[in-house]
Symmetry: none
Subunit: 219 residues, 2 copies
Amino acid sequence: MSALPIALIEDQPLIRETLHGYLCEQPEFRCVLTVASVEEFLAGLTSAPEPPALVLSDIGLPGLSGIAGIPLIKARLPAVDILMLSVYTDAERVFQAICAGAVGYLVKSTPLEQLKEHLLQVAAGGSPMSPAVARHVIRSFQAPVVAVVAPLTGPKGEQLTPREQEIVQGIEDGLSYKLIADRMGISVDTVRNFIRLVYRKLHVNSKGEIMALALKRRG
Amino acid sequence: MSALPIALIEDQPLIRETLHGYLCEQPEFRCVLTVASVEEFLAGLTSAPEPPALVLSDIGLPGLSGIAGIPLIKARLPAVDILMLSVYTDAERVFQAICAGAVGYLVKSTPLEQLKEHLLQVAAGGSPMSPAVARHVIRSFQAPVVAVVAPLTGPKGEQLTPREQEIVQGIEDGLSYKLIADRMGISVDTVRNFIRLVYRKLHVNSKGEIMALALKRRG
DNA sequence: CGCACCACCACATAAAGATGCTGTGCGGTT
DNA sequence: AACCGCACAGCATCTTTATGTGGTGGTGCG
Protein backbone atom coordinates (compact mmCIF):
# COMPACT_ATOMS: atom_id res chain seq x y z
CA MET A 1 0.00 0.00 0.00
CA SER A 2 1.47 3.33 -1.08
CA ALA A 3 1.45 6.32 1.23
CA LEU A 4 -1.34 8.83 0.75
CA PRO A 5 0.10 12.07 -0.64
CA ILE A 6 -1.12 14.90 1.57
CA ALA A 7 -0.75 18.65 1.39
CA LEU A 8 -1.12 20.97 4.38
CA ILE A 9 -2.16 24.63 4.31
CA GLU A 10 -1.75 26.24 7.73
CA ASP A 11 -0.49 29.73 8.49
CA GLN A 12 0.41 29.34 12.16
CA PRO A 13 4.01 28.07 12.24
CA LEU A 14 3.71 26.06 15.46
CA ILE A 15 0.59 24.20 14.33
CA ARG A 16 1.93 23.72 10.83
CA GLU A 17 5.15 22.21 12.15
CA THR A 18 3.35 20.00 14.65
CA LEU A 19 0.99 18.66 12.01
CA HIS A 20 3.72 18.30 9.44
CA GLY A 21 5.87 16.42 11.93
CA TYR A 22 3.07 14.11 12.95
CA LEU A 23 1.97 13.36 9.41
CA CYS A 24 5.53 12.60 8.30
CA GLU A 25 5.82 10.03 11.09
CA GLN A 26 2.82 8.11 9.83
CA PRO A 27 3.67 5.43 7.29
CA GLU A 28 0.24 5.82 5.72
CA PHE A 29 0.91 9.40 4.71
CA ARG A 30 3.41 11.32 2.66
CA CYS A 31 3.60 15.07 3.09
CA VAL A 32 4.21 16.43 -0.39
CA LEU A 33 3.50 20.10 0.29
CA THR A 34 3.31 22.13 3.48
CA VAL A 35 2.57 25.81 3.06
CA ALA A 36 1.11 28.82 4.84
CA SER A 37 -1.40 30.02 2.25
CA VAL A 38 -3.50 29.03 -0.74
CA GLU A 39 -1.36 31.19 -3.00
CA GLU A 40 1.74 29.37 -1.81
CA PHE A 41 -0.01 26.04 -2.35
CA LEU A 42 -0.94 26.84 -5.94
CA ALA A 43 2.55 28.15 -6.67
CA GLY A 44 4.22 25.12 -5.09
CA LEU A 45 2.16 22.47 -6.86
CA THR A 46 4.39 22.16 -9.87
CA SER A 47 7.49 21.47 -7.80
CA ALA A 48 5.85 19.03 -5.38
CA PRO A 49 7.26 15.47 -5.70
CA GLU A 50 3.74 14.32 -6.65
CA PRO A 51 0.28 15.86 -6.63
CA PRO A 52 -1.56 15.55 -3.31
CA ALA A 53 -4.65 13.32 -3.14
CA LEU A 54 -5.81 15.11 -0.02
CA VAL A 55 -5.48 18.70 1.11
CA LEU A 56 -5.83 19.57 4.78
CA SER A 57 -6.58 23.26 4.91
CA ASP A 58 -7.16 25.93 7.48
CA ILE A 59 -9.74 28.64 6.77
CA GLY A 60 -8.30 31.76 8.33
CA LEU A 61 -5.32 32.26 6.09
CA PRO A 62 -3.37 35.31 4.86
CA GLY A 63 -4.60 36.41 1.43
CA LEU A 64 -7.22 34.00 0.12
CA SER A 65 -9.23 32.21 2.78
CA GLY A 66 -9.26 28.44 2.85
CA ILE A 67 -12.83 28.53 1.60
CA ALA A 68 -12.06 30.85 -1.30
CA GLY A 69 -9.20 28.54 -2.16
CA ILE A 70 -11.39 25.45 -2.60
CA PRO A 71 -12.59 26.12 -6.15
CA LEU A 72 -9.08 27.21 -7.20
CA ILE A 73 -7.56 24.03 -5.80
CA LYS A 74 -10.30 21.89 -7.36
CA ALA A 75 -9.72 23.58 -10.70
CA ARG A 76 -6.06 22.59 -10.59
CA LEU A 77 -6.70 19.15 -9.05
CA PRO A 78 -10.26 18.07 -9.81
CA ALA A 79 -9.95 14.72 -8.03
CA VAL A 80 -8.41 16.06 -4.84
CA ASP A 81 -10.24 15.74 -1.51
CA ILE A 82 -10.18 18.87 0.62
CA LEU A 83 -10.65 18.55 4.35
CA MET A 84 -11.11 21.71 6.40
CA LEU A 85 -9.38 22.09 9.78
CA SER A 86 -10.51 25.24 11.49
CA VAL A 87 -11.26 26.94 14.77
CA TYR A 88 -14.51 28.16 13.25
CA THR A 89 -17.61 26.05 13.83
CA ASP A 90 -20.29 28.57 12.84
CA ALA A 91 -22.89 27.24 10.45
CA GLU A 92 -22.12 29.87 7.82
CA ARG A 93 -18.51 28.87 7.31
CA VAL A 94 -19.35 25.19 7.61
CA PHE A 95 -21.86 25.40 4.78
CA GLN A 96 -19.72 27.71 2.68
CA ALA A 97 -16.85 25.26 2.85
CA ILE A 98 -19.01 22.22 2.16
CA CYS A 99 -20.89 23.89 -0.67
CA ALA A 100 -17.57 24.99 -2.13
CA GLY A 101 -16.47 21.39 -2.29
CA ALA A 102 -14.85 20.37 1.01
CA VAL A 103 -15.38 16.66 1.77
CA GLY A 104 -15.23 17.17 5.51
CA TYR A 105 -14.78 19.70 8.28
CA LEU A 106 -12.90 19.28 11.55
CA VAL A 107 -12.25 21.60 14.44
CA LYS A 108 -8.67 22.40 15.30
CA SER A 109 -8.95 20.84 18.76
CA THR A 110 -9.20 17.40 17.17
CA PRO A 111 -6.52 15.16 18.75
CA LEU A 112 -3.80 14.03 16.35
CA GLU A 113 -4.65 10.34 16.53
CA GLN A 114 -8.24 11.15 15.75
CA LEU A 115 -7.13 13.41 12.92
CA LYS A 116 -5.23 10.47 11.48
CA GLU A 117 -8.36 8.30 11.58
CA HIS A 118 -10.32 11.05 9.87
CA LEU A 119 -7.71 11.41 7.13
CA LEU A 120 -7.90 7.68 6.50
CA GLN A 121 -11.65 7.97 6.45
CA VAL A 122 -11.44 10.56 3.71
CA ALA A 123 -9.13 8.31 1.72
CA ALA A 124 -11.69 5.52 2.12
CA GLY A 125 -14.50 7.73 0.78
CA GLY A 126 -15.89 9.11 4.01
CA SER A 127 -16.66 12.64 5.11
CA PRO A 128 -15.53 13.20 8.68
CA MET A 129 -17.10 16.04 10.57
CA SER A 130 -16.54 17.22 14.10
CA PRO A 131 -19.69 16.77 16.20
CA ALA A 132 -20.79 20.40 16.21
CA VAL A 133 -20.30 20.56 12.47
CA ALA A 134 -22.31 17.42 11.90
CA ARG A 135 -25.17 18.78 13.96
CA HIS A 136 -25.33 21.91 11.78
CA VAL A 137 -25.39 19.73 8.73
CA ILE A 138 -28.07 17.36 9.98
CA ARG A 139 -30.19 20.20 11.27
CA SER A 140 -30.22 21.77 7.85
CA PHE A 141 -32.25 18.81 6.60
CA GLN A 142 -34.84 19.05 9.24
CA ALA A 143 -37.89 21.23 9.05
CA PRO A 144 -37.72 24.06 11.54
CA VAL A 145 -40.17 23.67 14.35
CA VAL A 146 -43.15 25.33 12.83
CA ALA A 147 -45.19 27.60 15.01
CA VAL A 148 -48.56 26.02 15.39
CA VAL A 149 -50.90 28.19 13.41
CA ALA A 150 -54.55 27.99 14.23
CA PRO A 151 -56.72 27.00 11.29
CA LEU A 152 -58.58 29.73 9.48
CA THR A 153 -62.08 30.37 10.78
CA GLY A 154 -64.98 32.30 9.39
CA PRO A 155 -66.07 35.76 10.53
CA LYS A 156 -68.69 34.18 12.79
CA GLY A 157 -66.25 31.58 14.14
CA GLU A 158 -67.13 28.90 11.59
CA GLN A 159 -64.67 25.99 11.99
CA LEU A 160 -63.15 24.07 9.11
CA THR A 161 -63.17 20.26 9.20
CA PRO A 162 -59.82 18.46 8.96
CA ARG A 163 -60.32 17.74 5.28
CA GLU A 164 -61.36 21.32 4.60
CA GLN A 165 -58.14 22.43 6.28
CA GLU A 166 -56.18 20.20 3.94
CA ILE A 167 -57.87 21.87 1.00
CA VAL A 168 -56.87 25.25 2.33
CA GLN A 169 -53.31 24.02 2.77
CA GLY A 170 -53.29 22.93 -0.86
CA ILE A 171 -54.39 26.38 -1.93
CA GLU A 172 -51.77 28.01 0.27
CA ASP A 173 -49.20 25.75 -1.34
CA GLY A 174 -50.20 27.15 -4.71
CA LEU A 175 -51.64 23.93 -6.06
CA SER A 176 -54.30 23.66 -8.75
CA TYR A 177 -57.50 21.76 -7.95
CA LYS A 178 -56.13 18.83 -9.91
CA LEU A 179 -52.93 18.70 -7.90
CA ILE A 180 -54.83 19.08 -4.63
CA ALA A 181 -57.00 16.16 -5.74
CA ASP A 182 -53.90 14.08 -6.47
CA ARG A 183 -52.39 14.97 -3.09
CA MET A 184 -55.54 14.10 -1.18
CA GLY A 185 -56.48 11.06 -3.23
CA ILE A 186 -59.89 12.40 -4.25
CA SER A 187 -61.55 13.58 -7.46
CA VAL A 188 -61.39 17.12 -8.81
CA ASP A 189 -65.15 17.41 -8.34
CA THR A 190 -64.74 16.60 -4.69
CA VAL A 191 -62.10 19.29 -4.45
CA ARG A 192 -64.57 21.72 -5.98
CA ASN A 193 -67.17 20.66 -3.42
CA PHE A 194 -64.80 21.25 -0.56
CA ILE A 195 -63.82 24.59 -2.07
CA ARG A 196 -67.46 25.58 -2.03
CA LEU A 197 -67.83 24.64 1.59
CA VAL A 198 -64.62 26.44 2.57
CA TYR A 199 -65.50 29.60 0.63
CA ARG A 200 -68.93 29.61 2.24
CA LYS A 201 -67.52 29.22 5.73
CA LEU A 202 -64.79 31.79 5.27
CA HIS A 203 -67.00 34.23 3.32
CA VAL A 204 -64.62 34.43 0.38
CA ASN A 205 -64.95 33.83 -3.35
CA SER A 206 -61.53 33.01 -4.73
CA LYS A 207 -58.24 31.32 -4.09
CA GLY A 208 -56.70 34.76 -3.97
CA GLU A 209 -58.81 35.70 -0.97
CA ILE A 210 -57.72 32.52 0.80
CA MET A 211 -54.10 33.43 0.13
CA ALA A 212 -54.75 36.90 1.50
CA LEU A 213 -56.25 35.49 4.69
CA ALA A 214 -53.29 33.15 5.09
CA LEU A 215 -50.80 35.96 4.61
CA LYS A 216 -52.60 38.19 7.06
CA ARG A 217 -52.59 35.43 9.64
CA ARG A 218 -48.84 34.92 9.20
CA GLY A 219 -48.15 38.59 9.77
CA MET B 1 -22.80 11.95 36.30
CA SER B 2 -26.05 10.03 35.80
CA ALA B 3 -26.34 7.27 33.23
CA LEU B 4 -27.84 8.19 29.86
CA PRO B 5 -31.24 6.50 29.52
CA ILE B 6 -31.25 4.67 26.20
CA ALA B 7 -33.92 2.75 24.33
CA LEU B 8 -33.19 0.14 21.66
CA ILE B 9 -35.45 -0.87 18.80
CA GLU B 10 -34.09 -3.89 16.96
CA ASP B 11 -36.05 -6.82 15.59
CA GLN B 12 -33.26 -9.37 15.17
CA PRO B 13 -32.99 -11.17 18.54
CA LEU B 14 -29.25 -11.90 18.36
CA ILE B 15 -28.32 -8.30 17.55
CA ARG B 16 -30.80 -6.93 20.04
CA GLU B 17 -29.41 -9.11 22.83
CA THR B 18 -25.81 -8.31 21.91
CA LEU B 19 -26.43 -4.59 21.88
CA HIS B 20 -28.55 -4.71 25.00
CA GLY B 21 -25.88 -6.69 26.83
CA TYR B 22 -23.11 -4.34 25.74
CA LEU B 23 -25.03 -1.19 26.60
CA CYS B 24 -25.96 -2.53 30.04
CA GLU B 25 -22.29 -3.14 30.80
CA GLN B 26 -21.42 0.49 30.17
CA PRO B 27 -21.68 2.66 33.27
CA GLU B 28 -22.47 5.67 31.05
CA PHE B 29 -25.70 4.12 29.80
CA ARG B 30 -28.89 2.77 31.23
CA CYS B 31 -31.06 0.63 29.03
CA VAL B 32 -34.63 1.59 29.89
CA LEU B 33 -36.42 -0.08 27.00
CA THR B 34 -35.38 -2.80 24.57
CA VAL B 35 -37.97 -3.81 22.01
CA ALA B 36 -38.41 -5.36 18.57
CA SER B 37 -40.65 -2.74 16.93
CA VAL B 38 -41.83 0.84 17.02
CA GLU B 39 -45.27 -0.28 18.14
CA GLU B 40 -43.73 -2.14 21.05
CA PHE B 41 -41.64 0.91 21.90
CA LEU B 42 -44.64 3.23 21.99
CA ALA B 43 -46.65 0.75 24.05
CA GLY B 44 -43.78 0.18 26.46
CA LEU B 45 -42.98 3.84 27.13
CA THR B 46 -45.38 4.28 29.99
CA SER B 47 -43.96 1.37 31.94
CA ALA B 48 -40.29 2.22 31.31
CA PRO B 49 -38.45 3.16 34.51
CA GLU B 50 -37.75 6.58 32.97
CA PRO B 51 -38.15 8.09 29.51
CA PRO B 52 -35.18 7.51 27.19
CA ALA B 53 -33.04 10.48 26.19
CA LEU B 54 -31.73 8.58 23.20
CA VAL B 55 -33.32 5.98 20.96
CA LEU B 56 -31.13 3.67 18.90
CA SER B 57 -33.33 2.33 16.16
CA ASP B 58 -33.11 -0.08 13.28
CA ILE B 59 -34.95 0.74 10.04
CA GLY B 60 -36.13 -2.59 8.72
CA LEU B 61 -38.61 -3.47 11.42
CA PRO B 62 -41.85 -5.47 11.50
CA GLY B 63 -44.88 -3.22 11.17
CA LEU B 64 -43.81 0.44 11.10
CA SER B 65 -40.32 1.05 9.72
CA GLY B 66 -37.81 2.82 11.88
CA ILE B 67 -38.14 5.85 9.64
CA ALA B 68 -41.93 5.93 9.88
CA GLY B 69 -41.55 5.65 13.62
CA ILE B 70 -39.45 8.81 13.96
CA PRO B 71 -42.31 11.34 13.93
CA LEU B 72 -44.37 9.13 16.22
CA ILE B 73 -41.53 8.84 18.71
CA LYS B 74 -40.80 12.57 18.49
CA ALA B 75 -44.47 13.32 19.10
CA ARG B 76 -44.35 11.34 22.32
CA LEU B 77 -40.86 12.49 23.34
CA PRO B 78 -40.11 15.81 21.60
CA ALA B 79 -36.65 16.17 23.17
CA VAL B 80 -35.44 12.65 22.40
CA ASP B 81 -32.45 12.05 20.11
CA ILE B 82 -32.95 9.29 17.58
CA LEU B 83 -29.92 7.56 16.12
CA MET B 84 -30.42 5.16 13.22
CA LEU B 85 -28.48 1.89 13.11
CA SER B 86 -29.10 0.12 9.84
CA VAL B 87 -27.69 -2.12 7.15
CA TYR B 88 -29.01 0.33 4.57
CA THR B 89 -26.68 3.04 3.33
CA ASP B 90 -28.59 4.18 0.26
CA ALA B 91 -29.03 7.93 -0.05
CA GLU B 92 -32.80 7.69 -0.11
CA ARG B 93 -33.15 6.09 3.31
CA VAL B 94 -30.38 8.23 4.74
CA PHE B 95 -32.15 11.41 3.77
CA GLN B 96 -35.58 10.12 4.70
CA ALA B 97 -34.34 9.31 8.17
CA ILE B 98 -32.48 12.59 8.61
CA CYS B 99 -35.32 14.67 7.23
CA ALA B 100 -37.70 12.81 9.53
CA GLY B 101 -35.65 13.91 12.51
CA ALA B 102 -32.83 11.41 13.14
CA VAL B 103 -29.75 13.08 14.67
CA GLY B 104 -27.35 10.56 13.18
CA TYR B 105 -27.06 7.45 11.06
CA LEU B 106 -24.71 4.51 11.54
CA VAL B 107 -24.24 1.28 9.64
CA LYS B 108 -24.76 -1.95 11.51
CA SER B 109 -21.17 -3.03 11.01
CA THR B 110 -20.01 -0.30 13.38
CA PRO B 111 -17.88 -1.94 16.10
CA LEU B 112 -19.37 -1.79 19.59
CA GLU B 113 -16.65 0.43 21.07
CA GLN B 114 -17.13 2.86 18.23
CA LEU B 115 -20.89 2.71 18.71
CA LYS B 116 -20.33 3.71 22.33
CA GLU B 117 -18.30 6.73 21.26
CA HIS B 118 -21.00 7.70 18.82
CA LEU B 119 -23.70 7.43 21.47
CA LEU B 120 -21.68 9.68 23.76
CA GLN B 121 -21.24 12.04 20.84
CA VAL B 122 -25.00 12.25 20.43
CA ALA B 123 -25.39 12.98 24.12
CA ALA B 124 -22.81 15.77 23.75
CA GLY B 125 -24.73 17.33 20.89
CA GLY B 126 -23.01 15.72 17.93
CA SER B 127 -24.41 13.89 14.92
CA PRO B 128 -22.36 10.80 14.17
CA MET B 129 -22.57 9.37 10.69
CA SER B 130 -20.85 6.39 9.19
CA PRO B 131 -18.46 7.43 6.41
CA ALA B 132 -20.65 6.41 3.49
CA VAL B 133 -23.58 8.20 5.06
CA ALA B 134 -21.59 11.36 5.63
CA ARG B 135 -20.47 11.40 2.01
CA HIS B 136 -24.08 11.27 0.82
CA VAL B 137 -24.88 14.13 3.12
CA ILE B 138 -21.93 16.29 2.10
CA ARG B 139 -22.50 15.58 -1.56
CA SER B 140 -26.03 16.85 -1.29
CA PHE B 141 -24.65 20.32 -0.66
CA GLN B 142 -22.46 20.31 -3.67
CA ALA B 143 -23.61 21.24 -7.10
CA PRO B 144 -23.80 18.16 -9.31
CA VAL B 145 -21.47 18.16 -12.25
CA VAL B 146 -23.90 19.27 -14.84
CA ALA B 147 -23.68 17.61 -18.18
CA VAL B 148 -23.49 20.26 -20.81
CA VAL B 149 -26.61 19.77 -22.84
CA ALA B 150 -26.68 21.07 -26.37
CA PRO B 151 -29.62 23.30 -27.11
CA LEU B 152 -32.56 21.77 -28.94
CA THR B 153 -32.43 22.08 -32.70
CA GLY B 154 -35.03 21.55 -35.38
CA PRO B 155 -35.24 18.52 -37.67
CA LYS B 156 -33.35 20.41 -40.36
CA GLY B 157 -30.76 21.74 -37.94
CA GLU B 158 -32.59 24.96 -37.20
CA GLN B 159 -30.77 26.76 -34.36
CA LEU B 160 -32.51 28.57 -31.51
CA THR B 161 -31.38 32.10 -30.59
CA PRO B 162 -30.25 32.71 -27.01
CA ARG B 163 -33.58 34.25 -26.07
CA GLU B 164 -35.46 31.40 -27.70
CA GLN B 165 -33.41 28.99 -25.59
CA GLU B 166 -34.44 30.86 -22.49
CA ILE B 167 -38.07 30.43 -23.50
CA VAL B 168 -37.52 26.71 -23.88
CA GLN B 169 -35.86 26.57 -20.46
CA GLY B 170 -38.88 28.29 -18.96
CA ILE B 171 -41.14 25.66 -20.51
CA GLU B 172 -38.90 22.87 -19.25
CA ASP B 173 -39.10 24.43 -15.80
CA GLY B 174 -42.86 24.10 -15.97
CA LEU B 175 -43.57 27.83 -16.00
CA SER B 176 -46.67 29.46 -17.46
CA TYR B 177 -46.24 32.12 -20.14
CA LYS B 178 -46.88 34.74 -17.50
CA LEU B 179 -44.15 33.41 -15.24
CA ILE B 180 -41.73 33.08 -18.16
CA ALA B 181 -42.47 36.70 -19.01
CA ASP B 182 -41.78 37.73 -15.42
CA ARG B 183 -38.53 35.77 -15.39
CA MET B 184 -37.32 37.26 -18.67
CA GLY B 185 -38.61 40.77 -18.06
CA ILE B 186 -40.80 40.87 -21.16
CA SER B 187 -44.51 40.93 -21.93
CA VAL B 188 -46.71 37.86 -22.24
CA ASP B 189 -47.31 38.72 -25.90
CA THR B 190 -43.59 38.67 -26.51
CA VAL B 191 -43.44 35.25 -24.89
CA ARG B 192 -46.17 34.13 -27.27
CA ASN B 193 -44.16 35.50 -30.18
CA PHE B 194 -41.09 33.59 -29.10
CA ILE B 195 -43.17 30.47 -28.59
CA ARG B 196 -44.37 30.81 -32.16
CA LEU B 197 -40.82 31.08 -33.44
CA VAL B 198 -39.61 28.15 -31.31
CA TYR B 199 -42.50 25.89 -32.29
CA ARG B 200 -41.91 26.72 -35.95
CA LYS B 201 -38.21 25.90 -35.73
CA LEU B 202 -38.67 22.73 -33.75
CA HIS B 203 -41.71 21.60 -35.73
CA VAL B 204 -43.87 21.17 -32.64
CA ASN B 205 -47.22 22.55 -31.56
CA SER B 206 -47.39 22.41 -27.78
CA LYS B 207 -45.46 22.77 -24.55
CA GLY B 208 -45.95 19.06 -24.07
CA GLU B 209 -43.99 18.33 -27.22
CA ILE B 210 -41.15 20.55 -26.01
CA MET B 211 -41.12 18.63 -22.74
CA ALA B 212 -41.01 15.39 -24.68
CA LEU B 213 -38.03 16.57 -26.74
CA ALA B 214 -36.25 17.66 -23.58
CA LEU B 215 -36.87 14.33 -21.88
CA LYS B 216 -35.72 12.38 -24.90
CA ARG B 217 -32.52 14.40 -25.00
CA ARG B 218 -31.86 13.70 -21.31
CA GLY B 219 -32.20 10.02 -21.92
C1' DC C 1 -30.73 44.92 -45.38
C1' DG C 2 -31.41 41.03 -42.35
C1' DC C 3 -31.75 39.49 -37.88
C1' DA C 4 -32.91 39.51 -33.08
C1' DC C 5 -35.75 41.32 -29.81
C1' DC C 6 -39.87 43.44 -28.29
C1' DA C 7 -44.73 44.70 -28.50
C1' DC C 8 -49.68 44.89 -29.77
C1' DC C 9 -54.26 43.31 -31.75
C1' DA C 10 -57.51 39.67 -32.88
C1' DC C 11 -59.50 35.26 -32.42
C1' DA C 12 -60.15 30.40 -31.08
C1' DT C 13 -59.62 26.54 -28.07
C1' DA C 14 -58.47 24.21 -23.84
C1' DA C 15 -57.96 24.23 -19.06
C1' DA C 16 -58.78 25.99 -14.53
C1' DG C 17 -61.81 28.09 -11.32
C1' DA C 18 -66.46 29.06 -9.32
C1' DT C 19 -71.25 27.89 -8.31
C1' DG C 20 -75.69 25.24 -8.12
C1' DC C 21 -77.61 20.87 -7.25
C1' DT C 22 -78.06 16.01 -6.05
C1' DG C 23 -76.88 11.47 -4.22
C1' DT C 24 -74.52 7.73 -1.34
C1' DG C 25 -72.28 5.82 2.63
C1' DC C 26 -70.51 5.88 7.29
C1' DG C 27 -70.23 6.85 12.14
C1' DG C 28 -72.10 9.02 16.09
C1' DT C 29 -75.90 10.73 18.76
C1' DT C 30 -80.53 11.06 20.46
C1' DA D 1 -85.00 4.33 13.58
C1' DA D 2 -84.16 9.08 12.45
C1' DC D 3 -81.13 12.67 12.16
C1' DC D 4 -76.84 15.04 11.59
C1' DG D 5 -72.19 15.89 10.19
C1' DC D 6 -68.66 14.58 7.32
C1' DA D 7 -66.55 12.77 3.27
C1' DC D 8 -66.81 11.64 -1.42
C1' DA D 9 -68.66 11.82 -6.06
C1' DG D 10 -71.05 13.34 -10.28
C1' DC D 11 -73.60 16.52 -13.53
C1' DA D 12 -74.45 21.08 -15.34
C1' DT D 13 -73.31 25.76 -16.34
C1' DC D 14 -70.73 29.81 -16.46
C1' DT D 15 -66.49 32.68 -15.91
C1' DT D 16 -61.72 33.40 -16.05
C1' DT D 17 -57.19 32.25 -17.39
C1' DA D 18 -53.77 29.89 -20.20
C1' DT D 19 -52.35 28.34 -24.62
C1' DG D 20 -51.93 28.56 -29.59
C1' DT D 21 -52.01 30.99 -34.07
C1' DG D 22 -52.28 34.78 -37.58
C1' DG D 23 -50.81 39.27 -38.56
C1' DT D 24 -48.39 43.72 -38.07
C1' DG D 25 -45.02 47.15 -36.62
C1' DG D 26 -40.90 49.36 -34.27
C1' DT D 27 -35.93 49.62 -32.72
C1' DG D 28 -31.07 48.63 -32.62
C1' DC D 29 -27.08 46.39 -34.40
C1' DG D 30 -23.71 44.35 -37.61
